[in-house]
Symmetry: C2
Subunit: 190 residues, 2 copies
C-alpha cells in the first residue's frame, strides 16, 4: 500500500514507475503518463521504436475467436498506448501513426464458405471491423486489404504451398497497392 | 526435443501432457485432445467447471480496442476449447454450451455519441459481432442485450452511481429477459 494504490501495489508490470494517480487507478491514464515520461518498460519502448521506424506493419496471426490471439491483443493493448499511437484529439485520420501502412495477414480454422455474406459466420469483413477500423485506423494507419489464407489445416500440402506463393507474389508489388477506404461501407455495405 | 516438437518442447503451459501430434503442432488439435482426455491443466478445468455449472455467464470488462482486454481474450482462447464449448459439428445453435445465457457488461473510454451509427466509431453493435456472435453464440450461448456503461471516467460521481444503480436494477429481472436474435440483422440491420 506504499503508493496508496487500492490494489496494494502497482499492478502493471509495464508501468514500473510511481503511479500518477494511485488513488484512482486507470491503466489508460497511467500508460499515457508513463509514455510521455518515457518510463514505460524497455520492452514496450523497443516495440514502439520498431513501429515508429516501419513504413508498413504486417500482422501475421491465426484467427482465434474472430480476432487476434490473446498474446497479440496484449501487444496492441500495451504498445499502442495514448501518447504513442493516438491522442485525444489525434485519432482515426489524425492518429499519431498516420503516414504508415498496416495489413492483417491471417489464417483461419474455418473454410472460406463459412465467411461469405450468407454463411453462418457472416461476411468475413464483419470481424475485421474492430481490428482494422477500431484499432489500426484509430491510430492513423492506412489499411491495406487483408490477406486471408482460409483453413490451411484442411488443405493439401500443395494447396498450402499455393497459399504461401500467392502471399509472396502479393508482397512483390505491395508498395503499389492503394489502402481500403476504412469506413463502414467497406465492412457492412452491399 | 524429447517429444519431437519442432518448437523444442511443449510450448503450451495449458497442455501439460504429451502432445498428440508433435510433428505438426496445432494448438486447437492439442487442446481438443487434451480436453477429451481431461489432461488440460487444473486451472483450465476449474474454469470450465464454473461455466458448466452456470445458467448465466456475465463478462464484465473495460472495452480495450473495441474488444476484451488481452487477459480475458486469453480466458476465451483457452477455456472455450473444442470438445468443451463447441465441436465440429456442434456450434452456433448446436454449440455445446446451449441452454446457457451470456451477457457482456462493459465500460467504454469513449462517450456514447462516438458509438452511434453516424459516429466516427460506427454503431456500437458493430464491435460486438466477434464477441457475441463469433464467440458466445458459436459456443451455443443465448446472448442477452449488452449492458454498456459509456465513459465512466468522464462522468461525475453521481453519474457513476447512477450507472451502477441501473445495472443493479436490471439484474433484478434479468431472468425474465429474452435473448437477442444473434444474427447479422441485429448487428448490421437498419
Amino acid at each position: 500500500m506504499g503508493r496508496g494504490c487500492p490494489l496494494g501495489e502497482n499492478p502493471c508490470p509495464v508501468l514500473p514507475g510511481a503511479l500518477s494517480s494511485p488513488e484512482f487507478f486507470s491503466y489508460g491514464v497511467e500508460a499515457y503518463e508513463a509514455c510521455k515520461k518515457r518510463s514505460l518498460t524497455s520492452d514496450i519502448i523497443a516495440e514502439q521504436e520498431k513501429v515508429q521506424e516501419a513504413d508498413l506493419v504486417m500482422f501475421q496471426f491465426p484467427l482465434y475467436w474472430f480476432s487476434v490471439p490473446a498474446v497479440l491483443k496484449g501487444w496492441m493493448d500495451r504498445v499502442l498506448c495514448q501518447g504513442f499511437a493516438f491522442d485525444l484529439p489525434g485519432f482515426y485520420d489524425d492518429g499519431l501513426l498516420k503516414g504508415k501502412l498496416a495489413i492483417l495477414s491471417l489464417t483461419t480454422g474455418g473454410t472460406a464458405d463459412m465467411y461469405w455474406k450468407t454463411g453462418a459466420s457472416g461476411d468475413f469483413r464483419y470481424f475485421l471491423w474492430p481490428l482494422q477500423h477500431g484499432t489500426l485506423h484509430f491510430c492513423g494507419f492506412k489499411v491495406l486489404a487483408p490477406h486471408i489464407s482460409f483453413a490451411p489445416e484442411f488443405a493439401s500440402e500443395e494447396e498450402r504451398r499455393g497459399m504461401v506463393a500467392s502471399w509472396a507474389q502479393r508482397l512483390k508489388t505491395i508498395w503499389k497497392e492503394e489502402p481500403i477506404p476504412c469506413w463502414p461501407p467497406w465492412y457492412f455495405g452491399q
